[in-house]
Symmetry: C2
Subunit: 339 residues, 2 copies
């Protein structure tokens, strides 16, 4: 049987209260006693029982990550796991443990309520894929410490965190203009693809600022996959009025775009520049390697961890965040044309 606080107390010749104080760093204990207790703990190889501690403290030092974890999630959504890694690090650093729970939006309200009432976790990080109006009501009413990953697509009281895709679009456009590109095209998802839409909005806002006119056909919309990227690029090339660079809403579209350009014997970046968002999964492997506006999802996880810990400490903290700065990685698919 493992040693308990009583054993330590007995061996050290003090009370259990004193042992507890030593463990928790109370100031009112003499160095002498501290040493005694420490020695006793070592000797007995004492490890405090966390279950008892959690119970007594009424806190588990545990944060729950709620998300949809379908089969193939590891491959189709590595970003989520990257966020999770960051989250774990931020929590682990502060002695908190991260737990993961697969969930549908339908199950979420009941589960969240249960977790909260049963004190299973001190706080929750909720992926936007499982939120709902019902969850919003619950979370607000019970004042449940939480952070939502991803901007909710409906008005809500959630405290959330997201990537600034519009800013990413702005950075892309600014970068290209500064490098002497004058005619930008954008191929991306339809309006349902909010990420693509935000990136495009950022691009357009910069172009407008600089009074750059964008011909209608320089904006192509389609599905967010390779095939669609291929088709959209062909559409673009069909019109004699060519852009000098194509901005692809994501890596899959970029893959199709590069294929189409190659088929048309166009050299990248000499005949056409290519820029995309997100450094995954093709941008580093494609020939030529692509210039990207990258988003640091790992850092997003860290931020989420810090936020939820804050929320746990000060539950009345009321924030709605929008953050993580994108960064540009210039590679071979663009060049400096201004020189």
């Amino acid at each position: 049987m493992a040693a308990t606080i009583k054993d330590v107390a007995k061996l050290a010749g003090v009370s259990t209260a004193t042992v507890s104080k030593v463990m928790n760093g109370s100031y009112s204990i003499s160095q002498r006693t501290i040493d005694h207790v420490r020695r006793a703990m070592d000797e007995l190889n004492y490890h405090p029982n966390l279950r008892a501690r959690n119970f007594a403290r009424q806190s588990t030092r545990q944060v729950l990550f709620l998300t949809t974890l379908g089969e193939n999630a590891g491959f189709s959504n590595p970003h989520m796991f990257e966020i999770m890694s960051g989250l774990e690090h931020a929590l682990g650093n502060k002695g908190y443990l991260l737990s993961v729970k697969d969930m549908t939006p339908e199950q979420a309200p009941e589960f969240v309520r249960d977790v909260f009432e049963s004190k299973m976790a001190d706080g929750m990080v909720i992926h936007a894929s499982v939120i709902s109006k019902a969850l919003d009501d619950l979370v607000k009413q019970k004042e449940i410490p939480h952070i939502v990953l991803g901007q909710p697509h409906f008005p809500s009281h959630f405290c959330w965190l997201d990537i600034d895709n519009k800013l990413a679009g702005e950075m892309a456009a600014n970068f290209l203009l500064q490098h002497g590109y004058q005619s930008l095209a954008f191929i991306g998802g339809t309006d349902e693809d909010k990420i693509s839409a935000h990136r495009l909005a950022g691009v357009l806002s910069v172009l407008k600022e600089y009074d750059v006119i964008v011909p209608k056909h320089h904006l192509q919309y389609g599905a967010s996959d390779c095939e669609s990227g291929f088709q959209m690029t062909k559409q673009l090339l069909h019109n004699p009025n060519l852009p000098d660079v194509i901005i692809c809403a994501n890596n899959y579209i970029a893959y199709g775009c590069v294929s189409a350009l190659k088929e048309h014997q166009m050299k990248i970046p000499d005949d056409m520049g290519v820029l995309t968002f997100d450094d995954y999964p093709f941008s580093r492997i494609l020939e030529p390697k692509l210039t990207v506006v990258n988003i640091d999802v790992y850092d997003m996880g860290i931020q989420a961890g810090k936020l939820i810990l804050n929320k746990i400490k000060k539950p009345n903290l009321q924030i709605q965040f929008y953050c993580t700065l994108p960064s540009i990685t210039a590679r071979e698919s663009t060049k400096n044309r201004s020189t």
Copy 2:
């Protein structure tokens, strides 16, 4: 303040023991009482305090997943997260919660010991990337319920679970021979890459069985990346004695292989067949789509979950497992030559 078991007992006019029995499905309670208690629970919106329950039960219904979660892990090792998804599902189904903890091999022994002594979790799933001889000793001595994901590269007492890469190699070779291929080449990693080595061993064992001779230069070894795949393929093509199919140890090598074949104007599958292992990340996207021997890592997670739950129930269960059957997905990069 949330309702406790006492409140429920009082309202239902029974003892707390009875309420507890109702919750835990004891058979010796009359339907009448059950109904009363249930009603009282609903009325008070009672949720049992898990911290108290864990404490009383001396179990947390929680399994810890220990792994190295470096920055970029989500992108570089999606398989691990896919396993994790399967694991979560297997555990969640049985009412267990999965927690995740980043860890170095150096930290692992102390942490594992701590988890075990402190009863923080009922069992652990340990990724092979964090195991060590020290951990093996500890786990054996303390009889800690665990499953290691991945075959240890040293003699140990661990209970582990892995993909049968040798079998995957055998399946690849059998598949190709059955489809009329007669001269197989293999390009893969050096001996350090155990996965590649096992796959090759499987291939060779089948070829030996059928008395197929493999010319030395049909086996190429290099790094496990695209560039190396490219180079190894060029080496292969350099010799006039060409194989009719190239088996690539993994997707990255396959990517380089396909690039090299294209550069040499070789048509796939007409001039040369290509087969690879693992359906990620290029095999479904490359032109042509690749025939693969796939490994169901999600299922591996499920198996791991079932195993660890078994171990938790019956700690003296002594097994060393080797499992998850590979499966073949035939696509465009191979054809049937026997007709």
